[in-house]
């Protein structure tokens, strides 16, 4: 890319400077991280508009807003965009690339060029996917799960483009995963031990292991599926002797771990945010690490709980029930540890903290319905209903998306050098939290009482609750406005943040905001205690000035 460098910059190599670098094949992990973040948000708004179409259609019990085929295209695109183009790239690619090199004390990722390739696979894949809507026959119509034989009978071109797009995104994800593993294990600053890493590194290590182990399985499955579509092979076509349940096994072998690929990084980010704003050490560092590893192991052996109503043998149902339920134990440990981190802290009630606490509340709700869904007899009734829709939106939206917002509020000062406006941030939180719960809580009741998922028309007795849910969706759409205004306005005239506005101890705050190209001007700092906040018990903080604090401090 030949671009004249602005005169006020020292030309550094061939990399474009200024805003143009965000459109270049930049090798700087911070640039790539922000590229992921902005691209992710663009697709979030596209996916959100698609969700708007779904909720609009469902305000009435008959199919009257879009055609039935379009509706199925929209729900397929919504799922695919939100998972593969928004959540996975943002919690892994965006924050992973931005933060991991800081956390291990490196100047960049292990493979900067691979990193840029991984990012630049995403825009073409996304454009391909969205563009398939406009071709003859339209986009894929078989849901993000693409179960055969349905995916073999719907218009072929859209389905093949969908497969191609997901393959590109899966490739991007694998490249990213390899890069994170190499960076965390091999690029640590000398003297920094594994058990001294910030929790997000552990979360990304676990996530990347899942990515590298399971994504290739999805890739292989989708390639076989495309053979079935293009070359009329019979891997998954029962008319040719194929077996559709095999597809489901292979698909969920990736797609259940995909849930952890979406939530484990969010767990890591929350573990970074809470101690800073609670002014306390992260409670139970060691158990947090082991519970991440336990979730990784268990996450790989629970996939068939998506198939309890398919033809699965009884012993398999029993095994997957128990295995799935047990994921609640390490996950529970993490939540109790976060509660203990809050307990006795000095909580700043800012947007980052509020979104993190919103995450805890939403995710606990989604986790409880998740344990219920793991029980075969329970699942038999609600499988493929709006109960499941409600459940997984509590996990991926109430869980992960809330954390993405918390993270934007927390790291925006690092990205830009300016603080976000807190009043707009709290308004954003309030609207999002109310809208989200209004949208997805009623869906549990709808599912229990007979509304299946992925329908454009439904029993008229469900109309009122569906309208309530749509109002919630509208509130969620509105809630992004204060956020957008805040992010754009603060970039130019927000309060100057300084290098470390939160008095945080993790290494990304021990440099300028925004950080220089190679992260630190001098040697990378050695941070062996990333959560060393707080006053030891029995001692009194010198900064404590009031008598009341003296009493409280003395009592503990």
């Amino acid at each position: 890319m030949t671009v004249a460098s602005p005169t006020d910059f020292e030309p550094q190599g061939l990399q474009p400077q200024g805003w143009l670098k965000y459109f270049s094949f930049s090798l700087d992990h911070k640039v790539i991280g922000l590229q992921y973040l902005i691209t992710g948000f663009i697709f979030y708004f596209i996916g959100g508009a698609l969700a708007g179409v779904i909720r609009m259609e469902l305000t009435s019990p008959i199919s009257d807003f879009v055609s039935r085929e379009t509706y199925n295209e929209v729900l397929t695109l919504h799922g695919t965009v939100m998972i593969f183009l928004w959540i996975v790239p943002v919690v892994n690619g965006a924050f992973g690339n931005y933060l991991i090199p800081f956390y291990v004390g490196a100047r960049d990722m292990a493979f900067p060029r691979l990193n840029a390739v991984a990012f630049w696979l995403i825009p073409p894949a996304g454009i391909l996917l969205i563009a398939s809507y406009f071709i003859a026959g339209g986009a894929a119509q078989s849901g993000w799960t693409a179960y055969p034989p349905l995916s073999l009978t719907t218009p072929a071109i859209g389905q093949v483009i969908w497969i191609l797009s997901v393959l590109l995104l899966g490739g991007s994800s694998i490249f990213g995963g390899i890069n994170f593993i190499a960076t965390i294990l091999k690029l640590r600053r000398p003297g920094l031990k594994l058990m001294q890493l910030p929790m997000y590194c552990w979360a990304m290590l676990g996530t990347s292991i899942l990515v590298v182990l399971s994504t290739p399985v999805l890739a292989g499955t989708l390639i076989l599926l495309s053979f079935d579509i293009i070359a009329h092979t019979g891997f998954f076509n029962p008319a040719l002797g194929g077996n559709v349940v095999v597809y489901q096994h292979l698909f969920w072998f990736y797609s259940h771990p995909a849930v952890y690929i979406m939530v484990l990084p969010a767990f890591g980010l929350v573990s970074e945010i809470l101690p800073v704003h609670a002014r306390k050490p992260l409670f139970g560092y060691t158990t947090m690490v082991y519970s991440i590893l336990a979730i990784v192991v268990l996450g790989l052996i629970v996939w068939a709980h998506h198939m309890f109503t398919s033809g699965t043998p009884p012993w398999m149902r029993l095994f997957f029930t128990i295995a799935t339920s047990f994921i609640a134990v390490p996950t529970g440990i993490k939540f109790f540890n976060w509660l203990a981190t809050l307990w006795g802290g000095k909580l700043a009630l800012n947007s980052a903290m509020l979104f993190s606490c919103g995450f805890i509340v939403n995710f606990v709700f989604g986790g409880i319905t998740g344990v219920a869904l793991a029980q075969v007899p329970f699942d038999i009734h609600v499988h493929d209903t709006y109960f499941v829709v409600g459940h997984f939106h509590y996990i991926v939206y109430g869980g992960t998306v809330f954390v993405i917002f918390a993270s934007v509020y927390h790291w925006y000062p690092k990205f830009t050098g300016r603080l976000l406006n807190e009043d707009l941030g709290r308004l954003h939180f309030l609207l999002t939290f109310i809208g989200f719960n209004l949208c997805f809580t009623p869906q549990h009741w709808l599912g229990l009482n007979g509304m299946p998922r992925r329908v454009a028309e439904y029993d008229p007795s469900f109309t009122t609750l569906n309208q309530v849910s749509s109002v919630g969706a509208l509130l969620m759409a509105i809630s992004t406005l204060p956020f957008l205004i805040n992010v754009i306005w603060s970039a130019y005239s927000g309060q100057i943040a300084g290098d470390n506005p939160w008095n945080a101890l993790t290494p990304e705050w021990l440099t300028a905001s925004p950080p220089p190209v190679e992260n630190w001007l001098g040697e990378a700092p050695l941070v062996t205690h990333p959560y060393d906040y707080g006053v030891p018990e029995g001692k009194i903080d010198l900064r404590v000035v009031s008598g009341a604090d003296l009493w409280l401090g003395g009592k503990r």
Binding site: S63, S67, R68, N72, Q141, S142, Y147, P149, T153, A239, V244, A278, K280, P281, F283, G284, T309, G311, P313, P314, S325, A328, V329, G332, I333, F336, L339, W343, G344, K346, A348, C357, I360, V364, I368, T369, A372, Q375, V376, P377, I380, H381, H383, D384, T385, W445, G450, P452, R454, V455, A456, E457, Y531, Y533, G534, V535, E537, R543, G553, R556
Partner: protein, 298 residues
């Protein structure tokens, strides 16, 4: 404040448990129950609902309490207490969820068995169904007096509810296609778009799909089973409450998936016999309920 905090915690915990139990008992979220396994299901739901309520209220309470009690006052620049962990505490909150989850798992296994889900209709080896396997495994449901040729179901996949005691159950063949369910009564040679069943008598649905995957769901029966092309599946149930209930396709099957609905009409015994006789083709008249119940099905 002179009340010790341990006592307050204890009282709060007891109150929480009582609220959870009350909610589980009294908040009715499910549609009415109309099959013999629905009450079994509902008791599992109550247990899960109670445990879930206790957990959720407890954790939300803790978050809200922390946010209020431990909020940073203006001008307070101090840090919190440097507590990095507490091993006994962590053991407690690892052990309790583990025990609860284990209990729930075993309990739901028991429920599943009572619903007839663990019946090994055909669970020797999983994934291949060649011709000889078809022959070998034809025992459970072969020899049924149905005229249709290859449908002497080769490899029957266990749906829920077929709990062995299906003596005298009424067989109904279900064909799912885009976008309808077709019900065929082999005993009376009746073909219907609605499912009519008598109350309090086991019904055995022998299901197959013609094109793509569908799912047979009756919310009031708490029953769902995917109908997968190439995999004949049996689902058994006993209706317990007369009335009309929706049959819903629960697996995305194409543009009209949302419209793929039917009705199951549960009749009293006599009304059902009447329906059966008026709809049966005149020729094989004596295909009555009596002969059907003698018929040695699975």
């Amino acid at each position: 404040m002179s009340i010790p905090s341990t006592l307050i915690t204890l009282l709060l915990g007891m109150g929480l448990v009582l609220v959870g139990l009350w909610v589980g008992q009294n908040v009715q979220l499910l549609p009415i129950d109309a099959s013999s396994n629905a009450p079994v299901y509902d008791s599992l739901f109550q247990v899960l609902f109670s445990i879930g309520t206790i957990l959720f209220l407890g954790i939300v309470g803790l978050v809200l309490f922390s946010l209020v009690r431990f909020r940073r006052r203006p001008g307070d620049l101090a840090d919190g207490v440097a507590i990095e962990g507490n091993l006994p505490l962590e053991i407690v909150w690892t052990a309790i969820p583990a025990i609860v989850v284990l209990f729930v798992g075993i309990y739901s296994y028991d429920i599943y068995e009572r619903m007839g889900g663990m019946v090994a209709l055909n669970d020797h080896s999983a994934m291949h169904h060649s011709a000889d396997v078809m022959q070998a495994s034809a025992v459970p449901s072969a020899g049924i007096s149905e005229g249709s040729d290859p449908a002497s179901e080769p490899r029957v996949w266990a749906g829920i509810g077929s709990n062995g005691s299906n003596e005298g159950s009424m067989p109904v063949e279900v064909t799912a296609m885009q976008f309808a369910f077709i019900f065929h009564y082999p005993d009376g040679n009746i073909t219907s778009g609605e499912l009519h069943v008598p109350v309090n008598r086991p019904v055995e649905l022998r299901m197959k799909a013609n094109d793509v995957i569908h799912a047979f769901w009756v919310p009031q029966f708490r029953l769902k089973q995917d109908i997968i092309p190439g995999q004949p599946t049996v689902l058994a149930f006993t209706a317990t409450r007369a009335g009309s209930y929706p049959i819903v396709c629960a697996e995305l099957c194409g543009p009209y998936h949302g419209g793929m609905r039917s009705t199951v009409v549960v009749h009293e015994e006599e009304a059902f016999n009447q329906w059966f006789e008026t709809n049966a083709p005149p020729k094989p008249a004596p295909a009555t309920v009596a002969s059907a119940s003698i018929n040695p099905t699975a």
